[in-house]
Amino acid sequence: MNFKPDLMGIPLDRRRNRLWLVAAYWLIVVLVAILLMALFKTYPSSHFPILFVIFYVSLLSDTPHLSISIGRCFYESPDRLDKQTWGIRTLFDSASREENRKYPPLDERERSRLRNALEVSYGIVCLIVLLAFVAHEFGKIPHVAYIRETLFWLTPFVVFNLPKTILIYTEKDVEPDMEEPQ
C-alpha cells in the first residue's frame, strides 16, 4: 500500500499541493493583520484592542495548531494499520521528556532539514526587518507606519511558524517506491 497523506481531502503527497496550502495560510494571516491595522488607523476607537486581542489570541492558539496539524497529518496516517509513519517532525515533536515523548528523537536527516528550514527562516526574517528599516529610513512608501507596525506584530508568527511551513513545503514528494520492495 502506498501512503497518500491528505488534509480534509486535499492530497498532500505532492509539493505543488502543499505550496497552495502554505501560500493560502500565509496570505490569510497577512491579509487579516493588514485589515486589522488599517481598521485601527482608520477608526482608532476602543474597538481595536478587542479586535486585536481576538486576532492575536486566535493566531497564537490556532496558527501553530494548524501548522502542527498539517505536520501531524503527514506524520500519522490513519490508513496505515502497521503504524508506519511518513511526514514531518520538528524539534517540538521530539523535545519532550523521555516518558512523555510521542515520537523518537529526530535523526540526522531530519535535523539537517530542520537546520536548513531554520536558516532559510532566519534569512527571510532578516530580509523583512531590513525592508522595514529601509522603508522607514527612506520613507518612500506611503503609510510606512502601517507597514512597520504590521510587520512588528507579524514577526512572532513568522518566527514561530515559518520554519514549520518551510519544512512542510520542502518535504519531497512521496515516491512510489516508498513501499517495501517485494
Binding site: 535523526d107 540526522e108 536527516r109 531530519e110 519531497k172 515516491e175 517506491d177 516508498m178 517495501e180 517485494q182
Partner: protein, 99 residues
C-alpha cells in the same frame, strides 16, 4: 526493484547498494531503520540517493551489512553485485586462460 545505482545518484551525488543488500537479506526498511536508529524514511532517502549519510551512519551501515563502506557507497556508478563478485563471462574466461 530499483536501486539508486540503477537510477543515478540522486541529490547526494552518491551511488549506493543499500536496497540490494537489504533485499538480499530480506530486511525491511523499518528493521534497518531500527538497527541504525533512524527514521525509516531516511532509509528510503538513502536508497534513492537523495541524502548523503554522515560518516557515522555510513560506517554503521557497513558494520550492519558486514561490508566495507566503499562496497555500499560510491561516487561512481556501482556494478551489479553479482558481476563484481563473479565477474563477467569474458573476464572469467580471461582469468581461466591466464591460469
Amino acid at each position: 526493484m530499483n536501486s539508486a545505482s540503477d537510477k543515478g545518484p540522486g541529490e547526494s551525488g552518491l551511488y549506493n547498494r543499500i536496497a540490494v543488500l537489504r533485499a538480499e537479506r530480506g530486511i525491511s526498511r523499518q528493521e534497518l531503520a531500527d538497527a541504525m536508529d533512524v527514521n525509516y524514511q531516511t532509509i528510503g532517502f538513502l536508497e534513492r540517493g537523495d541524502y548523503s549519510p554522515s560518516l557515522k551512519l555510513a560506517l554503521a551501515l557497513g558494520e550492519y551489512f558486514g561490508l566495507p563502506v566503499e562496497a555500499i557507497f560510491s561516487r561512481q556508478p556501482l556494478k551489479p553485485l553479482s558481476e563484481q563478485v563473479y565477474g563477467t563471462r569474458a573476464a572469467v574466461a580471461d582469468t581461466e586462460k591466464q591460469s
